[in-house]
C-alpha cells in the first residue's frame, strides 16, 4: 500500500505521539533535539536556498545596521549580512564537531578494546596516559594543540578530537574488562576462536551500544570547544565563515551597544549544543533507563 505525502506525515506524527505515550517526556526531549539538529543540518546542506546574500559579500548593505527589514539579523562592520553568515557558518561547526567526534570515537574505542582485552603492561601504560589526559582540562589541551598546529579546518578538528579519546577509551576499556569474563566469551574461546575474532564478534557489538549516547553528548561538547577555539582566535583562517569567529569579531563592537553581532552567533552555538544534548539525554533514557538515573 502506498501513501500520499500527507498520509505519510500523518502516520509519522501518529508514530511519534505513540512513542511519546510509551516513553514519556524523554521521548519529547529526543524529538525536540532531533528537530533542532535537522533544522541546522538543513541550513548547512542547502545554504543558498535560505541565505539572501553570500557570506563574503561586502556590499550586502550599510555598515552595522540593526536587525529588521531586508536584514533579518542586521549587518556587520564589513557590510556583510549577519543572517547569511549564520547560515553558512553552520557548515564549519557541524563539520568540525562531527568529524572530531568520529575520529576520537574510532581511536578511543579501538585503543580501549585492545587495551582492555590484552591487559598486562601495555594496558597499564595506556591507562595511565589516558587518565592523565582525562583529568586535565580538555579545552586547555585543545588550545595548546590548536595553537601549535596553526589555522586550518583539519588542524582544529584534530585539536578537538585529541581531547575526547580518553573518554571513549575509559568507557570501552571498563566494559571490555567485564565482558571479557562473560560466559559466552569463555564459550567462544573454548570452540577455538582467535583473539581478534572474539574481540570483533563478541565484545565489540556489546560495547558499541553504550558509546552511542556518549557520541551524541560528545558532539555537543565538541561544538562548544570548536567555537571556544575560534572565539579565542585559534584554529581557522579568516576566509572561513564560522560562528565562533563572528562572535569574537562582534565582541569589539559590544561597548558601542551593537548587540546583534554577538547575540545571534552565540545563540546558534548554544542552540546546536542544546540540540545534541537533548538528543543524547533522550537516547540515554530510552536506550538505558538506568544509565542516567531519572
Amino acid at each position: 500500500m502506498r501513501y500520499s505525502p500527507a498520509q505519510g506525515i500523518a502516520r509519522g506524527i501518529f508514530r511519534v505521539t505513540g512513542m511519546g505515550k510509551k516513553y514519556g517526556v524523554e521521548w519529547w526531549i529526543l524529538v525536540a533535539g532531533a528537530l533542532i539538529i535537522a533544522a541546522i543540518l538543513y541550513m548547512a546542506l542547502f545554504p543558498s536556498s535560505i541565505a539572501p546574500f553570500s557570506p563574503h559579500n561586502q556590499t550586502a548593505g550599510p555598515q552595522l545596521l540593526p536587525p529588521g527589514g531586508k536584514y533579518l539579523m542586521g549587518t556587520d562592520n564589513l557590510q556583510r549580512d549577519v543572517w547569511s553568515r549564520i547560515v553558512y557558518g553552520s557548515q564549519t561547526i557541524l563539520r568540525v564537531a562531527v568529524l572530531a567526534a568520529i575520529i576520537s570515537s574510532v581511536l578511543g574505542i579501538t585503543l580501549g578494546l585492545i587495551s582492555g582485552f590484552s591487559g598486562g603492561l601495555f594496558d597499564r601504560f595506556l591507562s595511565l596516559i589516558m587518565d592523565s589526559l582525562y583529568s586535565f582540562p580538555g579545552l586547555i589541551l585543545a588550545i595548546a594543540f590548536a595553537a601549535m598546529l596553526g589555522p586550518g579546518v583539519i588542524n582544529i578538528t584534530l585539536a578537538v578530537a585529541v581531547i575526547y579519546i580518553p573518554t571513549y577509551f575509559r568507557l570501552v576499556r571498563g566494559q571490555t574488562l567485564s565482558i571479557k569474563e562473560e560466559l559466552y566469551v569463555e564459550a567462544a574461546r573454548a570452540i577455538g576462536s582467535s583473539g581478534p575474532t572474539i574481540l570483533w564478534k563478541y565484545i565489540f557489538p556489546n560495547v558499541i551500544a553504550t558509546t552511542v549516547v556518549v557520541f551524541t553528548l560528545n558532539v555537543a561538547d565538541a561544538i562548544m570547544i570548536e567555537a571556544a577555539l575560534t572565539y579565542l582566535g585559534l584554529g581557522l583562517p579568516p576566509s572561513i565563515v564560522d560562528w565562533g569567529m563572528d562572535l569574537s569579531m562582534g565582541k569589539k563592537f559590544l561597548p558601542s551597544g551593537v548587540w546583534w553581532l554577538i547575540t545571534f552567533p552565540g545563540a546558534m552555538i548554544s542552540l546546536l549544543a542544546v540540540g545534541f544534548t537533548m538528543l543524547g539525554e533522550g537516547l540515554a533514557e530510552i536506550l538505558n533507563p538506568r544509565l542516567l538515573e531519572r
Partner: protein, 338 residues
C-alpha cells in the same frame, strides 16, 4: 586518621606521573610543531644567521632528548626556568597571575554551589511539577551555553544597557592595585588595608566574571543535587521525620540536603577541570589578568618554558583541588574509610 594520612600520601604521589605525562606530551608537541620562540620574537624579517645564533644561545639546537632531560632535571629542583621571550622567571610570571585566577574560580564555584544546590533541592521537592521541569530545562540549557557567550551577554545587559557593572579588568582606572596589593587576592588585600572604597571597586569588578563562571557550571550541580535528593527524600528517616510532624521545608533543606550534599561534594572534585577551562575563557572575555590570559599570550610567542610552567601549574591545581575535596569528604562523612 592514620589511614587518611596514608591515603593522602598515595594520592600526592599519584599526581607525579600525571604531571610528568602531561609535561612530556606538551614538551614534545611544542617542539615537533612548526614555529619557535626566536622566530616568533624577531618576526619574519630577521636574517637566518641571527635566528640560528639566538637559537644556539638558548640551547634550542640541542637534540630533543638532551633538552628534555635537562628540563626534567630542572623540574626536579622545583625550578620552572626563565621565560625565553622576556627576562622573567616563570615562577614569578605565574605567581603574579595565579591569585587572579584563584579569586575568580573560588567565587565562581561558590555561586555555582549556591545556585545549583538550592535549585536542585527545590526541583527534587517539587518532583514532576512545573517547577521541576523548568529547573531541569534550565540545567540542560545553561550547560550548553558557552561560557564566553554568557559573559558577553551579561556584559551587554549589565555593562552596556543598564550600565551598572564594569565589564573588564580587576580594578577601575582610579583604583591602583599597587596601593593595597599584598597577597594578590584583591578582595583580601583591600580588607587587610581597610580601604573600603577599593574593596567595593574590586568586588564590583568580580561580580560579572564570577557569575558568568558560576551560572554555566550550576547546570551540572542542579542535576546532581536533584538526583541525590530524590534518593534521600525516599529514605526511611525522611518518612520518619515527616511522621514526627517536622515542618516540610525544614526536612527538605535541613535533613535531606545535608545528606544529599556528600555525593555532590565528591562530584565537585571532578568539575575542577571544567572550572579551569571555563576560567580561561572567562578571563579572555573580561580581560581578567589571570593564568588563562598568560597561557594564550605566551602560546603566540612560543615561549616554551612559560607554557610548560602554566600547564604544570594547572595540572597541580586540578590534582590538589580534587585531593582537598576528598579530604573534606572523609572528614564530613564518618562512614568513609580509606
Amino acid at each position: 586518621m592514620r589511614n587518611l594520612t596514608r591515603y593522602i600520601i598515595t594520592r600526592v604521589l599519584l599526581t607525579i606521573p600525571m604531571v610528568f605525562i602531561l609535561l612530556s606530551i606538551v614538551f614534545v608537541v611544542l617542539r615537533v610543531m612548526p614555529g619557535d620562540p626566536v622566530s616568533a620574537m624577531l618576526g619574519g624579517h630577521a636574517p637566518e644567521s641571527v635566528i640560528e645564533q639566538k637559537k644556539e644561545e638558548m640551547g634550542l639546537n640541542r637534540s630533543m632528548a638532551v633538552q628534555y632531560f635537562d628540563y626534567l632535571w630542572q623540574i626536579c629542583r622545583l625550578d620552572l626556568g626563565e621565560s625565553m621571550v622576556f627576562k622573567q622567571r616563570v615562577t614569578k610570571a605565574i605567581g603574579e597571575k595565579l591569585p587572579a585566577t584563584i579569586e575568580l574560580t573560588a567565587f565562581g564555584i561558590l555561586i555555582t554551589l549556591f545556585l545549583g544546590v538550592f535549585m536542585g533541592a527545590y526541583a527534587a521537592d517539587k518532583r514532576r511539577m512545573v517547577q521541576d521541569y523548568v529547573i531541569r530545562l534550565y540545567g540542560i540549557v545553561v550547560y550548553c551555553i558557552p561560557v564566553y557567550w554568557m559573559g558577553l551577554m551579561l556584559q551587554l545587559i549589565f555593562g552596556i544597557w543598564l550600565d551598572v557593572l564594569p565589564i573588564a579588568g580587576r580594578t577601575g582606572p582610579r583604583v591602583f592595585a599597587s596601593t593595597f596589593e599584598k597577597t594578590g587576592f584583591y578582595v583580601l588585600d583591600t580588607i587587610l588595608v581597610k580601604d573600603f572604597s577599593a574593596f567595593g571597586d574590586v568586588v564590583i569588578h568580580l561580580i560579572l566574571p564570577a557569575f558568568t563562571l558560576g551560572l554555566v557550571l550550576s547546570g551540572i550541580f542542579v542535576r546532581l543535587t536533584r538526583a541525590n535528593m530524590l534518593d534521600v527524600l525516599r529514605s526511611d528517616y525522611i518518612v520518619a521525620a515527616e511522621a514526627r510532624g517536622i515542618r516540610h521545608r525544614k526536612i527538605v533543606y535541613r535533613h535531606a540536603l545535608k545528606n544529599a550534599f556528600i555525593p555532590i561534594l565528591t562530584m565537585m572534585g571532578l568539575q575542577i577541570a571544567l572550572l579551569m577551562a571555563g576560567a580561561v575563557l572567562t578571563e579572555t572575555t573580561f580581560s581578567w589578568p589571570g593564568m588563562g590570559r598568560l597561557l594564550l599570550e605566551r602560546i603566540y610567542l612560543r615561549d616554551y618554558p612559560t607554557i610548560q610552567g602554566v600547564i604544570i601549574m594547572i595540572a597541580l591545581i586540578v590534582a590538589m583541588a580534587s585531593l582537598i575535596v576528598d579530604i573534606i569528604y572523609a572528614i564530613v562523612d564518618p562512614r568513609v574509610r580509606y
